[in-house]
């Protein structure tokens, strides 16, 4: 047991801590506030405390727990709302009321609830880490109970179906008891058999993303933008509509009211595929901006560990971290209190490494154990660069490691063009790996079509510079037509209203038909111009208006509607 020697904000120094380990969790003071050792020098330990340190005094007791920061993994995680160190906020509310008090130590999972465990393995089976022992029906999601990674392989000497709490043993491997839940250190990635190549996209239903800047299942992406550009709305949309099986949503240092929005909305919204409430597949981690800064630092690790746990069962998991900048700032604050030598803009020199380590925990994997199964963790991190300028260290450190960049643009959001993702600045490096998937599942000509659309948008940018100087009427018809076509791409395809139920989700097939129809319009109009049809006649055709209504056409009618529009337009040009 050590004694507190110095307190300055969320970082304290304790003496007499010999025998303690790096990253060991300690309890501080009478209220047993939780903290984590972040540096050691002889018997002096610097500790980040996960709660407000007001009132602590030199001389207060500091007791090590012998273990690093861990989360409890087992049934009951889905539908839960945790703070940054996996304390359930609903239980905290029952205990301390509407305001969070200090020193609440409660288990992460309900330890009284009985779960129906159905054994899959049999007595006498040889089992090892990652092997499936049985299942528990958690929500509409089936929770696989696996041999935890740290348990040695051996023979199953006892296993029984039945009702168990998370802490009760359901099987014995040799002499080791295995229960429904186990503990895992948040800073240690969970092991996998191997990492796999990306092969399929995370279908998001957002046209600009799926068509132009697709995300791979298991990939990592960043969405940086100034305030008011729609980071949170985009992140929430991904959580709502993407085709991942499990969603982990981390509200890291953001607004309390936003978490409330998720909490009130998700139970009412349906998963587009299973028709069950979205909450059934979701874990929320809420460490809002006014909650302790050290717990904010931990929240990101807590989230990714929960994501890896479901990945190990063979699920595709998507993790949204909103916002990683607040996480980086938490690191900066703690580093500053430790009086470390700062790197760029006061951030610690190890910022880049921490970001890389975090995003590298994303991936598509062959899961440990048998039966064979593939799982994935896709990570999308929101970044909030100061002043919207992405030359700052967090944005740059993130872009070095993530392969998808959705650049939010204040100018677009100011024009109420949503999603305000800039099509000329964004990129996805998963293009090549996903080409086969799109060719097989959407259409062979999908990739050439999107390339063509992007070329037009690029051309528009050049033409706009001229228009600024001489006005649109001075352009030749051929170029005015380009502007008409790109206006259609922008307004009728890229713009998408998240709050309109008909428009919020578009399947890749529908996206294909929409973009195909717009480009058909452009091609045919271009041909017509060449045969001296006037631009006025082309523009007066009804096709433009029909295309603008495509967003709201139900999926089933898209193909016939689009074919009709194309036919009518060709007819109108004759």
């Amino acid at each position: 047991m050590g004694k507190l020697a110095k307190i300055s904000g969320p970082v304290i120094v304790a003496e007499g801590m010999s025998g303690s380990q790096m990253n060991e969790v300690v309890k501080v003071g009478d209220q047993e506030l939780l903290g984590e050792i972040i540096s050691l020098k002889y018997d002096r330990a610097s500790i980040q405390v996960y709660e407000d340190t007001s009132g602590l005094k030199p001389g207060d007791a500091v007791v090590g727990t012998g273990a690093p920061l861990q989360v409890e993994l087992g049934p009951g995680l889905l539908k839960a709302v945790f703070d940054g160190i996996q304390r359930p906020l609903d239980v905290i509310q029952e205990k301390t009321g509407a305001f969070i008090q200090r020193g609440v130590n409660i288990p992460a999972l309900d330890i009284k609830k009985k779960w129906e465990f159905e054994a899959m393995a049999k007595k006498g089976d040889a089992v090892g880490p990652g092997d499936v022992l049985g299942t528990v029906q958690e929500t509409n999601i089936t929770h696989q109970i696996l041999v935890p990674p740290m348990v040695k392989a051996g023979t199953l000497s006892w296993i029984k179906s039945g009702k168990y709490t998370v802490r009760e043993g359901v099987a014995h491997i040799g002499k080791t008891e295995v229960g429904l839940s186990h503990l895992w250190s948040v800073r240690k990635p969970r092991p996998v058999k191997e990492k796999l190549r990306f092969a399929n996209p995370l279908v998001t239903g957002k046209r600009i993303i799926d068509t132009f800047f697709p995300m791979a299942k298991g990939g990592a992406g960043a969405i940086p933008g100034p305030f008011g550009s729609g980071k949170t709305v985009n992140q929430q949309d991904l959580a709502k509509y993407s085709d991942a099986q499990i969603i982990v949503y981390i509200g890291c240092g953001e607004r309390g009211n936003e978490m409330t929005e998720v909490l009130t909305e998700f139970p009412q919204l349906e998963d587009p595929k299973t028709k069950k409430p979205l909450m059934e597949r979701t874990v929320l981690i809420a460490n809002t901006s006014n909650m302790p800064v050290a717990a904010r630092e931990a929240s990101v690790y807590t989230g990714i560990t929960l994501a890896e746990y479901y990945r190990d069962m063979g699920y595709s998991v998507a993790l949204m971290a909103d916002s990683t900048s607040r996480w980086a700032e938490a690191m900066r604050e703690i580093s500053g209190r430790m009086e470390e030598m700062p790197g760029e803009e006061g951030y610690p020199a190890y910022l880049g490494r921490k970001l890389a380590e975090f995003y590298e925990r994303a991936g598509k994997v062959q899961c440990l154990g048998s039966p064979d199964r593939e799982g994935s963790v896709t990570v999308v991190g929101a970044v909030s660069p100061a002043g919207g300028d992405i030359s700052e260290p967090v944005s740059q450190g993130t872009l070095r490691i993530t392969k998808v960049f959705w650049a939010l643009d204040a100018n677009l959001s100011r024009r109420r063009h949503y999603p305000a993702i800039n099509w000329l600045k964004s990129y996805s490096l998963y293009d090549g790996e996903l080409e086969d998937w799109y060719a097989q599942n959407v259409a062979k000509e999908f990739y050439p079509l999107r390339a063509k659309a992007m070329n037009l948008l690029q051309k528009e940018e050049e033409l706009q510079n001229i228009v600024q100087l001489i006005g649109p009427d001075a352009l030749p018809d051929k170029e005015r037509l380009v502007l008409e076509a790109t206006k259609m791409i922008r307004e009728d395809f890229l713009q998408q209203n998240s709050f309109d139920p008909d428009d919020a989700y578009t399947s890749p097939q529908k996206q294909y038909w929409m973009i195909k129809t717009i480009l058909h319009y452009y091609d045919k109009a271009n041909d017509a111009l060449a045969t001296d049809v006037s631009l006025e006649k082309i523009l007066s055709a009804k096709a433009r208006e029909e295309i603008s209504k495509l967003k709201r056409i139900p999926e089933k009618q898209v193909k016939t509607t689009c074919e009709q529009i194309q036919k009518d337009f060709e007819h109108a040009l004759r």
Partner: protein
């Protein structure tokens, strides 16, 4: 347990280092008794064995290392709260300055408060009518929201704040609406302006004022907003009142934060402001909210002046990342003598959608708002084009948009300082202005709303 020492080792700016002490608790409050007998308040910033760094809420002029006495209270900074505080004026540290008696109450609250459990929050959706068209119709304020005013030096943000404080009501409900006002580093003249206006309109009885003036100690500013919010939380959550907290000027607050950080020789972040400024501001702004099962709410209207009109400056930047939107004031409109000079294009209320519509304001609200916004944006774009190619080059349609933008500023944005428009008046005014725009250009309003609310203003009237 109170302990007193006479062992000041070092005085450095607003920080006093005290040695040979029994262990001081982090954040505990301290009385500093000057050689003259005058008493100052302070707070422990850093505590280690036998040594404490104390930030002094007051001028350290006159302190010495020999006779100055330091008294540790053993408690964190607390404020006695009661509903007798309504109608009273306090200084930045909570001492009455209106010649009234000190507030006596058994109820004491830690001024840092506690974080609202995100699970306990209710989602804000009750429309607050401020009587200002640009806010009510285009950037709707709801109860429990934090909506700052981004201004710059020399603009009438105080007038606007006073007008909102005076006119704000929740419609259809007979509820206690009170204003808690926190002034940080404003001039005496500005303070007089607020006081006078509150007194004149009788709003003072329904208000609590905390005033830290420009010549008051700057470090006091760190506690002034927390005093105000502690009072607000008490009135809202214990006394079921609807509280509007006006805080001006947050820029002075942030400068005080920087001053302390510099005195502690901390590693500075952008423009010298400390790296934890986001967290610190969040600990203020996040105290707005509504809580499930409680009647009262805390709504915040912070005001800040953007240095050099730069919205990317750390103060507006970090504020914008925390608050739910912003009302931006424009120098250009001010130059055109338009009051209130709200520039609606960069302004935003994130909670607007939750607070408007048929049950809350009017069914056509969303459509009208979006249409006004889009048409005005189009008009503004055309102004730039006119500057290059001249107005003759514009089409007849474009000229209408140009005219609309002018009328929008002159009639919709501009209103009297005592003109209190209902939301219906604001929306109808919107329809009236939109009547100048060809019908096929009104893509954002629903046809049935146009027929019901807009038709009567259009040429030809009823169709």
């Amino acid at each position: 347990m109170i302990k007193e020492y006479q062992t000041v080792k070092e005085i450095f700016g607003p920080i006093v280092f005290v040695e040979d002490i029994q262990d001081a608790a982090y954040n505990e409050t301290v009385d500093i008794i000057m050689p003259s007998g005058e008493k100052l308040k302070g707070q422990v910033l850093e505590s280690s064995r036998g040594l404490a760094a104390v930030q002094v809420f007051g001028a350290t002029t006159g302190l010495d290392t020999k006779t100055t006495r330091i008294r540790f209270s053993g408690e964190t900074l607390q404020l006695p709260v009661s509903d007798d505080m309504l109608g009273r004026v306090f200084d930045g540290t909570g001492q009455p300055i209106d010649k009234g008696a000190p507030v006596v109450s058994k109820e004491k609250r830690d001024i840092n408060g506690f974080a609202i459990n995100p699970y306990a929050r209710a989602s804000p959706h009750d429309f607050i009518q401020t009587g200002v068209s640009t806010i009510d119709a285009l950037n709707t304020l709801v109860r429990g929201q934090k909506l700052p005013i981004f201004s710059t030096a020399g603009l009438p943000h105080n007038e606007l704040a006073v007008q909102i404080a005076r006119q704000a009501t929740v419609r259809g409900k007979d509820e206690d609406f009170v204003v808690v006002f926190a002034a940080m580093g404003i001039t005496n003249a500005e303070a007089q302006f607020f006081m006078k206006d509150f007194e004149k309109t009788g709003a003072l009885e329904r208000a609590v004022l905390f005033l830290n003036l420009a010549n008051d100690p700057s470090i006091e500013r760190l506690i002034t907003p927390r005093m105000a919010l502690t009072t607000a939380e008490y009135l809202a959550y214990e006394k079921d009142m609807q509280v509007l907290v006006v805080m001006t000027d947050m820029t002075n607050y942030c400068d005080a934060l920087r001053e302390i950080a510099a005195a502690r020789q901390e590693v500075p972040g952008r423009r010298g402001y400390p790296g934890y400024m986001y967290t610190d501001l969040a600990s203020i702004y996040e105290r707005a909210g509504t809580i499930k099962g409680r009647k009262g709410t805390v709504t915040q209207l912070p005001i800040l002046t953007m240095p050099e009109e730069d919205i990317t400056h750390p103060i507006p930047d970090l504020t914008g990342y925390i608050t739910e939107g912003q009302i931006v004031l424009s120098r250009e409109l001010h130059r055109k003598t338009i009051y209130p000079n709200v520039d609606v294009l960069p302004s935003l209320s994130r909670l607007m959608n939750a607070g408007i519509g048929s049950n809350r304001t009017r069914e056509d609200h969303a459509g009208v708002s979006s249409q006004l916004y889009a048409s005005y944006a189009q008009g503004r774009d055309l102004r730039q084009l006119v500057a290059v190619v001249g107005e003759e080059a514009l089409s007849a349609k474009d000229k209408k948009f140009l005219k609309f933008a002018d009328q929008f500023e002159k009639r919709f944005v501009q209103q009297g300082r005592h003109e209190n428009r209902s939301i219906e008046q604001s929306l109808d005014l919107g329809w009236e202005l939109l009547s100048e725009i060809p019908e096929d250009e009104l893509k954002r309003v629903k046809t049935e709303h146009l027929e019901k609310y807009g038709r009567k203003f259009r040429a030809g009237g009823k169709k």
